[in-house]
C-alpha cells in the first residue's frame, strides 16, 4: 500500500491541486468581504428527509463509522495539508449526497471546526429539497454571474456546517463547472474554512467530477454495497486517476451493524 503522503503529493500526471494548491489558506487572497459571522442561519425544515447519523443516533454504528473516517482524514490532513475533499461515485444513487452531508457534519464537530459543504451536482440537485430548505441561488448563480459569495452561503443548523447549495443553472452545468470562476470561488473560501467538502454528480455518466477533481486535494469514492458493480468502480478510478483517490467508502454495508453491536452494548451503556 502506498503512503498517504505519496498519494496526495502531486505526481506528474496528478490532477490534484492544479491551480489552487499554490494558494495557502493564510494568504487571504480570497473574498476579503466574506465574514462568516454575518451569514444567515437556516434550520432543517420540518419535513426534512435527510438522515444525519451524528444527529439522529450519535451513538449508533453509523456515527461511529463517520468518526472513524474523520479520524483517518485528520491524520492525513496533518501530514499533507489535506483540506478539500470531493465526494463522488461511479453511478447515480450511490449515496454521494448523503455521505457528503454526514461527513461534513461529522467534520464540523458541533461547530468546533468550520466546514463548507458545496453542492456541486448542478444536474440533479437534491439537497435543498431533502433538507426542506427554501430554494435559493447558489453555486450555479455564482459561476454564471453574481460577484459576491457572502449572499449565497448560509449556516446550517443543527448540522453546524456552512452550505453553498447548487442553485439553478441556466446554462450547461458541465460547462459551468469548467469556468475559471470555480477557481476564484475556491480561492475565496479556502482560507475561511478548515474543511471543504464537495458533493458531485456521478463520475461515469458525466465529466463534472473530473473537472471538480482539479480543485481538491483528494477524492473519496462512494460505492453502494451490494449494488455498484466492481467494474463501474474500477472505471471511475481509471477516469479520475488512481493517484487522486484517497479511498473508497462502502455505503450501506450490511455487516457493519452486527459487528458493531457486539461492542456497542459494552461501550455505550
Amino acid at each position: 500500500m502506498r503512503g498517504a503522503d505519496e498519494l496526495v503529493t502531486n505526481g506528474p500526471d496528478s490532477l490534484v491541486g492544479i491551480g489552487v494548491t499554490t494558494e495557502s489558506p493564510a494568504s487571504g487572497q480570497g473574498d476579503s468581504a466574506l465574514d462568516l459571522s454575518t451569514l444567515r442561519t437556516v434550520e432543517f425544515g420540518p419535513r426534512s428527509k435527510v438522515k444525519v447519523a451524528t444527529l439522529i443516533d450519535p451513538r449508533g454504528a453509523a456515527s461511529d463509522r463517520f468518526r472513524l473516517l474523520r479520524m483517518k482524514l485528520r491524520h492525513l490532513s496533518e501530514k499533507t495539508g489535506l483540506r478539500r475533499l470531493l465526494i463522488t461515485s461511479a453511478l447515480p444513487q450511490d449515496g454521494k449526497t448523503t455521505i457528503a452531508l454526514n461527513l461534513a457534519t461529522t467534520l464540523a464537530e458541533q461547530g468546533a471546526r468550520k466546514v463548507l459543504l458545496i453542492e456541486a451536482d448542478l444536474h440533479h440537485p437534491t439537497l435543498s429539497d431533502r433538507l426542506d430548505l427554501e430554494p435559493k441561488p447558489g453555486l450555479a448563480e455564482y459561476l454564471e454571474s453574481t460577484p459576491s459569495i457572502s449572499g449565497l452561503l448560509k449556516r446550517l443548523t443543527p448540522a453546524q456546517i456552512y452550505l453553498l447549495s447548487s442553485g439553478f443553472a441556466k446554462t450547461n452545468p458541465t460547462e459551468l463547472l469548467q469556468s475559471a470562476r470555480l477557481t476564484e470561488l475556491l480561492a475565496a473560501v479556502n482560507s475561511k474554512f478548515d474543511w471543504i467538502v464537495i458533493d458531485s454528480p456521478p463520475a461515469l455518466p458525466l465529466t463534472d467530477a473530473l473537472s471538480l477533481a482539479r480543485h481538491v486535494d483528494g477524492v473519496l469514492l462512494v460505492a453502494r454495497a451490494d449494488v455498484t458493480p466492481r467494474e463501474a468502480v474500477d472505471e471511475a478510478i481509471q477516469r479520475l486517476g488512481p493517484a487522486n483517490i484517497l479511498g473508497v467508502l462502502l455505503n450501506g454495508a450490511s455487516n457493519v451493524d452486527r459487528l458493531y453491536s457486539r461492542y456497542s452494548r459494552y461501550y455505550n451503556r
Binding site: 498517504a4 463509522r65 472513524l68 458493480p229 468502480v233 484517497l246 450501506g252 450490511s254 457493519v256
Partner: protein
C-alpha cells in the same frame, strides 16, 4: 419469506385434496428362447427392451384402454361428470406404468419388469394390473407369431421378384455376349493376330494379282503377234492361191478365233468365251487354255482381295469397340452378381424364417412369464401426503435459495470492506452502514413481528390440515 409460506400453504392444500391412490403391480420376466439364437436368428429383430416398447404401445392403444375402462368400470366419477373419452384414455394411460427392473437392460437378453396400475380402488387396481399382465404375455406371443409369419410371407414375395430379376439379367448377359462376342476384351488378342494374318494374305493376293495381270498382258501381246503372223502368211498364200482356197480360209478362221480370244481377255470377264464350232487349231487351243487359266486366276484373286479387305476392316472396328464393350459388360456383370447374391441371401433367410416361425408357433421363442401376480394393495400408494406437504414446503425454500444463488453468480457488486481493500490499494476504506432514523427502526421491528406472525399462522394451518386429513 411470506411468499414462501404462502406457496407452501397452497402446496399443502393441494396435497390434502388428493384422493388416496392404490397401486398394484405385476412382475414379468422375458425368458430366453429355448432354441439357441446362434442356430436360429430370432424372427423378430427386436430385443426384449424393444419388445416392451412395442408391446407397451400396443397395450396402451386407445381401443384397448377403452375396453379396460369399460370392463372394470373405471373413472366412474369422471364419466358422471361427462369427461371426454380422450380424457379418460389419457387418465388411464398416465396411471399405467411399465418399468424395467434389470440394470442389464443394455444387454437386452434377459429382463425383469413391472406393469403397474394406480387407481382409486384397491380391488380394481389389482384386477386391472393382472389384466394388463395377461394382455402383455398374450400380446407378445401373438405379436411374435404374426411377425414370424409375415416375415416368411414377405421373404417369399421378395424371393420371387429376385428370381425374376436374376433371370432377366442372365438373358441380357447372354444376348450381349452373342452380339458383341468379337468385341469383348478376351477376344482382343485373337483379333489382333487374325488381323495381321489377313494383312499378309492380302499382300500375297495383291502381288499375285499384279503378276496375273502382267501375264494377261503378255498373252494379249502373244495373241496379237500370232494374228499378225497369220495375216502375213495369208498374204503370202494369196500370191499363189485364190482367196477361196481352203488354206487361205483356214488362216482367216484361225485369225478370227484368235481375235475372239483377244477380245475376251481384254474384257477380263470370267464369262466363258463363246464356244467355237470347229476344233481348235493347235496355236489357238494353246492360247485358249492360257486365257482361261489367267482369267480364272484374276477372278479368284480379285474376289480374295475384296474378302480380305472387308475382313480387315471388320477386325479393325472390333478392336476399336473393345473398351466400350468392356465397360458395358462390367456393368451388366455387376448387376448380375448383385442380383445373384441377393437371391442367395433371400433363399437363406427364407429357410431361417421358416424354421423360426415354426419355433414361434411352438412358443419356443422368447416370451414373457408372470413372476409375481399383482397383490391387493393395502396402503395408498405414492409419497405419504404429510411427506408430500413437507416436500412442497422444502421445495419452495430450495427454489428461493437457488434464486439467490443464481442472483449471486451474476452479481459483481461489492459487499465488504475487506473486498474493497483487496481490490484497491487506497489508504482510506471505510464501510458505512445503512442510516436508520428511529422511525425506520420502529418499522423494521414491525416487519419482524409481521413475518413471525405469518410463519406461525402457516405452521398452524399446515398442522390443522394434516390433522384433518388424518382424521378423515
Amino acid at each position: 419469506m411470506v411468499t414462501a409460506f404462502l406457496a407452501s400453504l397452497a402446496g399443502v392444500t393441494v396435497v390434502s385434496q388428493i384422493r388416496p391412490k392404490y397401486m398394484a403391480q405385476a412382475v414379468l420376466t422375458a425368458t430366453q428362447p429355448v432354441i439357441s439364437q446362434r442356430l436360429v436368428t430370432p424372427a423378430s429383430s427386436t430385443g426384449a427392451a424393444e419388445a416392451f416398447q412395442l408391446l407397451t404401445r400396443q397395450l396402451l392403444s386407445k381401443r384397448r384402454l377403452i375396453e379396460i375402462i369399460l370392463k372394470f368400470d373405471l373413472y366412474k366419477r369422471e364419466r358422471l361428470r361427462g369427461a371426454s373419452t380422450d380424457a379418460l384414455v389419457e387418465a388411464l394411460r398416465s396411471n399405467i406404468e411399465v418399468e424395467t427392473l434389470d440394470p442389464v437392460r443394455a444387454r437386452g437378453d434377459f429382463n425383469t419388469f413391472t406393469i403397474s396400475f394406480t387407481g382409486d380402488d384397491p380391488k380394481a387396481a389389482q384386477a386391472v394390473a393382472s389384466e394388463l399382465a395377461g394382455l402383455f404375455i398374450h400380446e407378445n406371443v401373438k405379436t411374435r407369431e404374426a411377425q414370424a409369419l409375415s416375415t416368411t410371407e414377405f421373404l417369399t414375395d421378395e424371393l420371387e421378384s429376385a428370381r425374376t430379376r436374376l433371370r432377366a439379367l442372365e438373358a441380357q448377359l447372354r444376348d450381349f455376349k452373342t452380339k458383341f462376342g468379337g468385341e469383348l476384351p478376351e477376344q482382343q488378342m485373337i483379333n489382333l493376330q487374325s488381323m495381321s494374318e489377313i494383312r499378309t494374305q492380302l499382300q500375297n493376293t495383291l502381288s499375285a494379282l499384279a503378276q496375273t495381270r502382267q501375264q494377261r498382258g503378255a498373252i494379249e501381246n502373244a495373241i496379237a503377234a500370232s494374228i499378225l503372223r497369220l495375216q502375213f502368211e495369208k498374204t503370202e498364200l494369196l500370191k499363189k492361191l485364190t482367196s477361196r482356197h481352203p488354206s487361205v480360209l483356214a488362216k482367216d478362221q484361225e485369225a478370227a478365233k484368235l481375235q475372239i480370244l483377244m477380245d475376251w481377255i481384254r474384257a477380263g470377264t470370267a464369262e466363258p468365251a463363246p464356244a467355237s464350232t470347229t476344233p481348235d487349231e493347235p496355236g489357238v487351243s494353246q492360247f485358249r487354255s492360257q486365257v482361261i487359266t489367267t482369267l480364272a486366276a484374276l477372278d479368284r484373286l480379285t474376289r480374295d482381295e475384296g474378302r480380305l479387305t472387308a475382313e480387315m476392316s471388320r477386325y479393325q472396328s472390333q478392336i476399336s469397340n473393345t473398351p466400350v464393350r468392356e465397360q458395358q459388360l462390367a456393368t451388366l456383370m455387376r448387376e448380375y452378381d448383385q442380383s445373384k447374391q441377393q437371391y442367395a441371401d433371400l433363399v437363406g433367410r427364407q429357410m431361417q424364417s421358416r424354421l423360426a416361425s415354426n419355433v414361434e408357433q411352438n412358443q419356443q421363442g422368447q416370451q414373457f412369464r408372470l413372476v409375481e401376480e399383482p397383490a391387493l394393495p393395502r396402503a395408498p400408494a405414492g409419497i405419504p401426503r404429510s411427506r408430500m406437504g413437507l416436500a412442497v414446503a422444502g421445495g419452495s425454500i430450495i427454489l428461493g435459495l437457488a434464486g439467490a444463488f443464481v442472483r449471486n453468480m451474476a452479481d459483481t457488486s461489492l459487499h465488504t470492506e475487506r473486498e474493497l481493500r483487496r481490490a484497491w490499494p487506497f489508504p482510506l476504506v471505510v464501510a458505512i452502514p445503512t442510516l436508520k432514523s428511529p422511525e425506520d427502526r420502529r418499522r423494521e421491528i414491525g416487519g419482524y413481528v409481521l413475518e413471525s406472525l405469518a410463519a406461525f399462522t402457516m405452521a398452524a394451518v399446515v398442522f390443522a390440515v394434516h390433522a384433518y386429513t388424518r382424521a378423515k
